[in-house]
C-alpha cells in the first residue's frame, strides 16, 4: 500500500527505524518516474540516472520539512528529481556551445529569409513582410543588447534559459525577468505602430 504524506515525512527522518526502507522505496519511485519521463532525452544512460537519483535523494532528505503538503509527497519529490535531472542534461548538452558564437553566426538575419507561404494570398504575404520588417526594427531599436542577446538565444536558437543565464553571468529567474521585460517593451512598441490588431491576428496569431 502506498505511504501517506505523513508516513513519508515521518519515515524519512534519519532517526526513524523505517528510514532505510523509505529511501529504498523513494529511490524506486524516482527511478521509474525519471526513466519514463526522460525516455527520449539524449545522454541519459543507467549510470547517469543513478548519479542523478543519488543527487536528488541528497537534496530531498535535508529539506523534507519544506514540503508543504499541497500535493502528494511523491509528486513533490519527482518535481525536484525532474528539475535536477533536466538541469544536468541541459548542461551536458549545451556546455560546449558558445552563446556569443551562435548569436554572431545568426545575427539579425533571422528575419530576412524568404518565409512566404505560397498558399497565402499576396495581400497576406505583404502584411507578413511588413510585420517582419517592423519586428526586426523594434528588436534593434527598443531592446537593450542583453535583452536582444537573450531573446535570440532562447527564442531563435532554442538554448535553455538555464544555460543562457550561466553564460551571461546571471540566473534563470533573472533571465526570465529580462525576457519578460523585453516582451513587454516589444508589445508596447508594436501596439504603437500603424498596424491593426487584425493585421497581427491574420498574419501571426491565428494559424
Amino acid at each position: 500500500m502506498e505511504r501517506t504524506n505523513e508516513e513519508w515525512l515521518s519515515d524519512l527522518k534519519e532517526s526513524s527505524p523505517r528510514f532505510d526502507a523509505a529511501i529504498v522505496e523513494l529511490r524506486l519511485v524516482l527511478q521509474k518516474g525519471l526513466s519514463a519521463g526522460l525516455k527520449k532525452w539524449q545522454g541519459l544512460n543507467k549510470e547517469t540516472l543513478e548519479d542523478i537519483i543519488q543527487d536528488v535523494l541528497v537534496k530531498i532528505v535535508p529539506k523534507i520539512d519544506t514540503f508543504q503538503g499541497n500535493c502528494r509527497f511523491t509528486t513533490w519529490a519527482l518535481k525536484i528529481g525532474v528539475n535536477t535531472a533536466i538541469t544536468e542534461l541541459r548542461h551536458r548538452r549545451w556546455r560546449d556551445v558558445s552563446l556569443d558564437e551562435i548569436i554572431e553566426s545568426g545575427g539579425m538575419n533571422f528575419l530576412s529569409g524568404n518565409m512566404s507561404n505560397p498558399s497565402y494570398s499576396p495581400e497576406k504575404q505583404t502584411i507578413q513582410h511588413l510585420l517582419m520588417d517592423t519586428l526586426k526594427r523594434l528588436i534593434t531599436t527598443e531592446l537593450t543588447e542583453r535583452q536582444r542577446k537573450a531573446l535570440m538565444a532562447v527564442r531563435i536558437q532554442g538554448m535553455p534559459l538555464e544555460e543562457v543565464a550561466r553564460q551571461m553571468g546571471t540566473n534563470r529567474n533573472s533571465l526570465y525577468k529580462l525576457l519578460h521585460d523585453a516582451r513587454l517593451r516589444l508589445k508596447k512598441a508594436i501596439l504603437k505602430e500603424d498596424l491593426t490588431p487584425e493585421d497581427l491576428i491574420d498574419s501571426f496569431i491565428s494559424s
Partner: protein, 106 residues
C-alpha cells in the same frame, strides 16, 4: 471510449506545444521558419504585466500537474502558472517530463 479528462489534458498540452514552441527543432544558421516567428509574435502579444517567474512557477508546479492529471480546469485554478508555462520553454519542458513521470508511477 476516450476519457473526457484525458481529452481535456490533451487539448491543454496541444495548446502548450503550439504556443511555446518545440525546443529540439534544428535551427539553420541565420534563418528561421514562419512557425518560429509566429510563436515569437504570439509570445510578445500575449505578454502580461503580472507574470510569475520560474521560481514561483516551480513552487506551484506540483499542485498544477496534479490538477492537470485530475482533469481540472487549470485556466481557472492556476492561470498564472499556465501563462508562465506558455512563455517559458524550460519550465514547459520540465512540466511535460513531470507529467510523463507521474503517469508512469500511477
Amino acid at each position: 471510449m476516450t476519457d473526457p479528462f484525458q481529452k481535456k489534458t490533451s487539448r491543454f498540452l496541444k495548446k502548450l506545444f503550439t504556443f511555446a514552441g518545440t525546443r529540439n527543432k534544428k535551427m539553420q544558421k541565420g534563418s528561421m521558419d514562419m512557425d518560429t516567428i509566429k510563436q515569437m509574435v504570439r509570445g510578445i502579444m500575449t505578454t502580461r504585466a503580472d507574470e510569475i517567474d520560474c521560481a514561483e512557477c516551480f513552487e506551484q508546479l506540483d499542485q498544477f500537474v496534479e490538477l492537470v492529471l485530475a482533469g481540472k480546469n487549470i485556466s481557472d485554478a492556476m492561470p498564472l502558472v499556465q501563462h508562465h508555462l506558455e512563455h517559458c520553454p524550460d519550465c514547459k519542458e520540465e512540466f511535460e517530463v513531470l507529467l510523463k513521470a507521474l503517469r508512469s508511477i500511477t
